[in-house]
């Protein structure tokens, strides 16, 4: 199959993914924005009014923009991984009967999650900007660029998970448990500076920590990110992607035997 028809195929699957996600639910495409908004509402109520969470530092932003800048990218990432993990299994009927490049299925699924949540992200940033919440929109291009390695990371993990899920069906359940751990292990809800100094460096082991920091630096000028950690994050994303493709290619030929 040549590159051109692969593109057409990817577009068709994207179209299908979008429709599957939005035409089946009551509120249609509004759900994409509504669900993270509700989530944000709950979190900001709990953290701002119940726990009275504070961000340290004189120029610290309010808690809501602080949360938005990391939570939205996290939602894109975790939803992409969760949904893509079962995509091969869910398309067993198609895979068993039609020859197609299967990675297209995973790619389309990850793309859809990112498209939905990046759009939602930009929308809510604009809303917050209008509400004068100290969003530096000048940092938006840089913030959007941070989505590139995040996408690569998600795609790599998704490819590996989707392939392994064919063999071990418990993986999806396991991920539902593991992803929140990864979220709480990254400074999404809290600021790294609030942790005891001995613990702080350990957070860097979590691949998402960089992204939480990066989005806040670009959009809120909060905290700092060293150039070296940018390089490491990009390298990690590239490595994960290559490894994911490797695992997927290795197992691809045997999907039919185990589906």
């Amino acid at each position: 199959m040549n590159a051109m028809s692969s593109t057409t195929l990817t577009l068709r699957f994207l179209q299908r993914e979008f429709r599957e996600r939005f035409t089946g639910s009551l509120s249609g495409s509004a759900w994409a924005l509504l669900q993270p908004l509700l989530q944000l509402g709950v979190y900001s109520f709990v953290f701002v009014h119940v726990f009275k969470a504070r961000i340290p530092g004189a120029d610290a932003p309010g808690y809501v923009p602080f949360l938005v800048t990391a939570l939205w990218p996290w939602t894109a990432f975790s939803e992409a991984v969760l949904r893509s993990t079962t995509v091969i299994q869910n398309n067993a009927a198609l895979i068993g009967k039609v020859a197609l490049p299967r990675e297209v299925l995973v790619f389309a699924s990850v793309c859809t999650s990112f498209a939905v949540h990046v759009a939602g992200f930009v929308a809510i940033l604009l809303v917050l900007r209008v509400g004068n919440a100290g969003i530096a929109l000048g940092g938006l291009p840089l913030a959007l660029m941070s989505y590139v390695p995040l996408f690569a990371l998600a795609l790599g993990i998704s490819l590996a998970c989707a392939a392994v899920q064919v063999f071990v069906r418990d993986l999806a359940q396991l991920l539902v448990q593991l992803l929140p751990l990864m979220m709480f292990g990254a400074p999404v809800f809290y600021d790294r500076a609030l942790l005891p100094p001995a613990v702080q460096p350990w957070l860097s082991l979590n691949p998402f920590t960089f992204y939480a920091d990066a989005f806040r630096v670009t959009l809120l000028h909060h905290g700092s990110v060293a150039w070296s950690s940018v390089a490491i994050a990009v390298a990690v994303a590239a490595l994960v992607l290559v490894a994911g493709i490797g695992v997927f290619r290795r197992l691809d030929a045997h999907f039919e035997d185990f589906l």
């Binding site: 593109t7 299908r16 039609v98 063999f167 039919e256």
Partner: protein, 401 residues
Amino acid sequence: MSELLIEARGLGKAYPKVHRSGDRLRALGRLLFRGEDGDRISVLRDVDLEVRRGESLGLIGANGAGKSTLLKLITGVLTPSSGSVRVRGKVGALLELGAGFHPEYSGRDNIAMAAALHGLDGAELRRRLPEIIAFADIGDYIDEPVKHYSSGMVVRLGFAVIASLKPDLLVTDEVLAVGDESFQKKCVRWMQDYLDGGGTLILVSHSMYHVQKLCRHACWLRDGEVAMTGDVFDVTQAYLAWHERKSAPQETSPNPDRRNVEFSVLDMSLDGQTGEQPVLLGQGEPLEVRCRIRSREDRMPSVAIGVTRADGTPVYGVSTDMDGHHPQRLAAGEYACRLVFDALPLLPGSYTVRVHPLDPEGVRVFDTMERTLTVRGATREFGLVRLAHRWDTLPGEARHE
């Protein structure tokens, strides 16, 4: 020799034995870290197959012989466990009812997806869409979800997509049998045109009739191995003989109703052959049709003999009363007649010869018996029969030369 489209060497497929959930994990580990896996059940072994452009191959065999597995290996849905298969050119596959169709989506959406799966881009699809919809001919259902379709409609849609693709190689099985009479004819006609136009076909079928009609070669799979390949008639005859041996004691008794009607066909033969096997004939060779008719009241019947194309298109029919001929009386209540075509002008293809006894007035048909006739030959003429003709120069136009 024309281009080789499919070349399979020592092709084999084995499925892993997965009984307990632990087996899956072990298989995963083996595949990831050693690139091999353990216990396997072999469903196809050592298949060597060559299909050249313009060939038509029938794939026959009992259930579970590995036919579908072989097709899936050829279309690339499955990866071979051993050996190799190389396929050149665009493959159009119509394997199972509604394969690749999503039940929740409309016919139109599914056409778009199927087209993309076969490598058509958006512009190309827009160009061909009217043609596909016209071929499927399912009316307003095209915008309904496929789950509301009848199985015939699903097949129509699938075949319409494949037909529009004009693949180098068409791989199909008996899904066509689901369509109604008119659609089947349309498909068979399309396939014959496709083959005449140099298309290559692999057909899986349990209907020897279809295989003989559409294919010139056949491959018989038995328990995952090639039992025989070669000319379609040799292979199908061997296959049928094998089946007959397997189910020998079942003797079919003549239809009891037959004995009670006023006239019935006792037997018929084409060139002296009485069996169920199709009679082979070269183009322009003579054909002799014989039949014996039983007459309950010993009245002289009238006998009609007709030839139709395998898809049912009538070619020629004639009866004794039309020609003022009378069947011979052999014994009490038993009549016979013999019809000879000195040089049968049928073009190569598969035909059916039918014998019908009629009442002496030639009005009512009482019975039908038919035999398949296959005319072989290499010609590119169109149609059913060769009409007597000659090419000539226009009188008085010679000066333009």
